[in-house]
C-alpha cells in the first residue's frame, strides 16, 4: 500500500514501531536509541509512535454500555450447550530435553491442581499468559530507590523484581482488567534478544490445571506451554504470578521465578 504522507522513506519504520511499544529486542533497542540521538527525523518519528500509543492507552477505561452486557447475557443463555470441558486445556510437552533437565533437578508432580481462592473467579491462566505475551503499552517502571532488587511498581503490595544487573532489562509494562481482576505485566529483555512478560494477578490465586510442577527450595512452580510460548506460574504471597516468553526455555523460566528470592537468572 502506498502512503503519500510519509516523507522519510529511509526511516526504519518497523523497528521504530516496535521500539515504541517495547517489543524490540533489548540489544537492538540500545543500538537504535543510539542512532536516534543523532537523527532528529527518527526522534520525531519515535515521538509520534509513542504519542499515538499513549493516546490510545488513555481510552482503556472506556467500558461497554450496560445494554451490551445485557445482550451478551441473553446471547450466552441461549447459546448451544457448553461442552463438558469448556476450559482451555494446557498440554505439557513431556519428554523434551530441556524439560528433562529441569525435572532432573527437582521433584516433579504431574497434573497438579491448585485450587483458586474465593471472590471473583478472575482470569484463566491462559488469559493471564496471553496478556504476558502481548505488547507493552506503557513505559517501563523505574528501579525502587529504597530496594535495588525491585521495581517501584507493585500489585497488592507485591513488587516486580529489578533484574537489569543480571542481564534482563526492563522494557515496558501494561495493565489489563481480565475477569474483573487487575493484571499488571512488566516486560524484560534478555541479552540474547529473548523477551519475557512477568504478570501478577491481583486478588486470590487463579486456578492452575495440568502442566509440570517443579519444587525448588520449598516453592512450587508449574511449567506449561501455549503454542510456541512457554510459561511458569507460581504464587507470591497468595497471588498468581506468570512469566511467559517465546524464546526462553524452562530452565530460564524457573530460574527467573526463583530470582525473586535472590538468585537471578543470567540472560
Amino acid at each position: 500500500m502506498s502512503d503519500h504522507m510519509t516523507s522519510e522513506p529511509q526511516l526504519p519504520e518497523a523497528e521504530l514501531a516496535r521500539l515504541a511499544d517495547g517489543s524490540l529486542s533489548a540489544e537492538r533497542q540500545r543500538q537504535l536509541r543510539g542512532e536516534i540521538q543523532n537523527s532528529p527525523p527518527m526522534a520525531r518519528a519515535l515521538k509520534e509512535q509513542e504519542r499515538a500509543i499513549a493516546l490510545i492507552r488513555s481510552t482503556d477505561d472506556v467500558v461497554a454500555p450496560a445494554s451490551l452486557h445485557a445482550s451478551l447475557e441473553r446471547l450466552t443463555s441461549t447459546a448451544p450447550a457448553k461442552p463438558a470441558r469448556s476450559r482451555l486445556r494446557w498440554w505439557p510437552r513431556l519428554g523434551l530435553p530441556v524439560a528433562g533437565a529441569v525435572v532432573a533437578a527437582a521433584a516433579v508432580v504431574v497434573a497438579v491442581v491448585i485450587a483458586g481462592g474465593g471472590g471473583s473467579p478472575g482470569p484463566s491462566l491462559s488469559q493471564t499468559a496471553h496478556v504476558a505475551l502481548a505488547s507493552a503499552t506503557s513505559p517501563a517502571p523505574v528501579e525502587d530507590s529504597a530496594n535495588r532488587a525491585q521495581l517501584s511498581l507493585q500489585v497488592d503490595g507485591i513488587p516486580f523484581p529489578y533484574w537489569e544487573r543480571v542481564g534482563w532489562r526492563t522494557q515496558g509494562r501494561r495493565t489489563d482488567t481480565v475477569g474483573g481482576r487487575r493484571v499488571v505485566t512488566v516486560f524484560y529483555g534478555g541479552r540474547n534478544g529473548s523477551r519475557v512478560g512477568y504478570a501478577i494477578v491481583s486478588g486470590a490465586p487463579v486456578k492452575v490445571s495440568g502442566g509440570q510442577t517443579v519444587v525448588r527450595n520449598g516453592h512450587r512452580y508449574t511449567l506449561l506451554h501455549q503454542g510456541n510460548a512457554r510459561l511458569v506460574t507460581w504464587q507470591r504471597s497468595g497471588h498468581t504470578c506468570v512469566i511467559a516468553g517465546r524464546r526462553v526455555n524452562d530452565r530460564t523460566l524457573v530460574a527467573l521465578a526463583e530470582a525473586d528470592s535472590g538468585s537471578a537468572a543470567s540472560a
Partner: protein, 180 residues
C-alpha cells in the same frame, strides 16, 4: 482444539467494544457491531487455539465489520442522524501531554484506511501481539508492523497541536471505503 467458553466472552467485552468503536468511529455502530459479532460467534460451538480468544474475536469482528459495510453499501444512503454526529464521549482524557477526547481518538483511528485501521485496532486497542494480529488479519507480521507504524503516525499527527502536522484525511465519515 479447545472449545470457546461462551461465559468467558464477558471478559473481552470492554476491549471488543473499544475496538469496534475505533473501527466504526461511532458508539452506536460499535454497539451494533459487537452485538452482531457475538451473536455470530455464539451461534454454534467454536474451537480456538489455547489463549487465542482475543485473536479469534478480532477475526470475527473484522469479518462482521466487512459484512456490515457490504450490506450498507447495498442500501440507500441516509443522512446522518443527530446521534451519529454527537459521538464524542463527555469524559476527557487526562493524559498524555494533550488531553484528547476519547471520541476524537477513535475518530482519528476510524478515519484511517482500512488496512491501517485494522492493524492499529488489533495491536494497540485489542492488545494482540504482532504475530497474532498478522494471523487474525491474514497477512504477514512485517506488513502489520509497517501498517501499524503508519497508522500511529497518522493518528499522532491528526491529534497534534502543531500546525501543519495534520495529514490529509482519507476515507473519512461513516461511508468509508471497503478497499483493501
Amino acid at each position: 482444539m479447545p472449545r470457546l467458553d461462551p461465559s468467558s466472552l464477558g471478559q473481552h467485552l470492554n476491549v471488543l467494544y473499544r475496538s469496534a468503536w475505533a473501527l466504526c468511529g461511532s458508539r452506536e455502530d460499535a454497539e451494533d457491531l459487537v452485538q452482531e459479532t457475538l451473536a455470530g460467534v455464539l451461534a454454534r460451538p467454536r474451537t480456538v487455539n489455547a489463549g487465542g480468544e482475543r485473536a479469534y474475536l478480532m477475526r470475527a469482528l473484522r469479518n462482521t465489520f466487512y459484512s456490515r459495510l457490504r450490506n450498507a453499501s447495498r442500501r440507500p444512503r441516509v443522512t446522518d442522524t443527530l446521534d451519529d454526529v454527537a459521538v464524542a464521549e463527555s469524559r476527557v482524557s487526562t493524559q498524555p501531554e494533550r488531553a484528547a477526547e476519547v471520541g476524537e481518538i477513535f475518530d482519528a483511528i476510524a478515519e484511517l484506511p482500512e488496512d491501517f485501521r485494522l492493524a492499529i485496532v488489533a495491536v494497540d486497542v485489542l492488545g494482540l501481539s504482532y504475530g497474532e494480529a498478522a494471523d487474525s488479519l491474514d497477512t504477514r507480521e512485517a506488513t502489520i508492523t509497517t501498517r501499524l507504524y503508519r497508522a500511529r503516525q497518522r493518528v499522532a499527527r491528526r491529534l497534534s497541536d502543531e500546525p501543519g502536522a495534520q495529514p490529509a484525511r482519507e476515507g473519512s465519515g461513516p461511508n468509508r471505503s471497503l478497499t483493501r
